[in-house]
């Protein structure tokens, strides 16, 4: 009887360890995140997907830091933007995040006199990191943006 319970306990401990073992950030589909943001947020402008190389140029990044990216840009009439990055690693993600912050600052400088109403969107856009992933969404619906991004992170 004792031996039986000891065996059961051992199995239970193994099961627990297996269930709780995986705490690392799972792979995130950057395309899925970007597409879901584009479809769920009601943007004021027409948003279009842009080429990876154009995104990298826009953000001053290169393939040394970025493994994958998916981005949507507006026509230029608004500051709306989506950019989802998979960096090479967590260290590179810091570089990518810094580039995203610079992008926001550049947009603020550009829109301040050009279209002051867009400054509201640029005041506190959604900019998050999770492991090697960096998420940027500029819109006037941060609540939805946060929900969508969080659903992929958790």
């Amino acid at each position: 009887m004792k031996r039986f319970f000891i065996n059961i306990l051992a199995l239970a401990m193994i099961f627990t360890v297996a269930g709780c073992a995986n705490k690392t950030v799972a792979n995130i589909d950057t395309d899925a995140v970007a597409d879901k943001l584009a479809s769920e947020i009601k943007f004021a402008d027409q948003m279009s997907n842009i080429e990876d190389k154009t995104v990298l140029k826009l953000y001053g990044l290169d393939e040394n830091s970025v493994k994958k990216v998916n981005a949507y840009e507006s026509t230029g009439a608004t500051a709306e933007e989506i950019a989802i990055f998979e960096a090479k690693d967590e260290e590179s993600a810091k570089t990518v995040k810094a580039a995203a912050e610079q992008r926001i600052n550049d947009q603020r400088a550009g829109f301040e006199d050009y279209q002051p109403k867009e400054m509201e969107k640029l005041k506190s856009p959604v900019l998050k990191t999770s492991g090697k992933y960096v998420f940027l969404c500029v819109s006037d619906d941060n609540s939805t943006a946060n929900k969508v991004i969080d659903s992929f992170i958790k």
Partner: protein
């Protein structure tokens, strides 16, 4: 006595078994919860369908704005104009037609625009985003005008912002495309616009003496935009373009009628080309690109 000890031992054993049982059940429950949570996350990821990268998301909204209502553009217009009345210098009267593109022939090389730079305002920024022009370079900024093109540091070069002319001095291009004029439609002095544009062309020539310079016509606005205000009208745009033709001729540069690539039969920007009647969407930027590929 022995029976008492046996009895105590029995109780202890039973208690120990109950404790072990409770621990076992707790551990099993915790482990199961962790596994279920992991499965939920995997299922949630897999349920979002991947969409094509080329899909164009078009969202209409009541919140669309136009640059005609932008305080910024109005302020720039007002700040600029304390200049004296228009000079009476006549435009050069030349009976030969303006230098436009020669026989249209689509560029065969994907690298044709690698040595090209595009100078312009927010519309050129839009072209940058949706271009099919290979590795073209863009020196463009929102609200850029013919005077600020020479003075405003808008180009990010080696981590530092410099003016367009400073950037041109540091990097050589064989083709320079310019599109400016939309933000200057409200200038009180039309001749000042032409003079400043001429100065810009002269500076570009100094920086890039071997390059071919292309003056692109100002693209039209939509009919609705044109009819909704007195400044950003296609009538004004056409007037400016007529003078740009003469300027290009005077400066011996090439004039490109890119407006034809995106206009409808009445010379307006079609309704489906833009959200605000001014900034082109990706489809119409591609039409603009196709024109540039053919006319060189």
């Amino acid at each position: 006595m022995r029976k008492g000890r046996r009895y105590r031992r029995k109780i202890i054993n039973r208690t120990a078994m109950i404790v072990v049982l409770i621990c076992t059940v707790s551990l099993v429950v915790v482990g199961a919860m962790g596994a279920v949570h992991e499965m939920d996350r995997v299922i949630a990821k897999e349920s979002v369908p991947a969409q094509s990268k080329t899909e164009n998301k078009i969202c209409s909204s009541e919140k669309s704005e136009s640059i005609a209502s932008s305080k910024g553009s109005v302020e720039q217009k007002e700040n600029h104009k304390k200049k004296p009345p228009e000079n009476s210098t006549p435009a050069k009267n030349n009976s030969s037609p303006p230098k436009t593109n020669s026989k249209p022939q689509k560029v065969s090389s994907d690298n044709y625009f690698d040595d090209a730079v595009f100078i312009g305002d927010s519309r050129t920024e839009g072209l940058r985003n949706y271009d099919g022009l290979g590795n073209a370079t863009y020196y463009a900024a929102k609200g850029l005008m013919v005077n600020t093109a020479l003075t405003k540091p808008v180009v990010n070069l080696n981590g530092k912002k410099v003016t367009i002319t400073d950037a041109l001095k540091q990097k050589k291009f064989n083709k320079v495309y310019i599109m400016l004029g939309l933000n200057e439609l409200g200038w009180s002095s039309f001749q000042t616009f032409i003079n400043d544009y001429g100065k810009l062309i002269d500076e570009v020539k100094k920086c890039e003496p071997q390059s071919k310079i292309y003056v692109q016509s100002i693209l039209p606005v939509s009919k609705e935009k044109s009819q909704s205000n007195k400044t950003y009208t296609n009538r004004n745009i056409n007037r400016y373009n007529e003078e740009l033709v003469k300027l290009a001729q005077k400066k011996d540069v090439i004039y490109l009628e890119v407006n034809k690539a995106v206009s409808d039969s009445e010379g307006n920007l079609p309704k489906d080309a833009s959200n605000d009647g001014i900034h082109l969407n990706s489809v119409y930027c591609q039409k603009w690109c196709e024109y540039l590929k053919v006319h060189k």
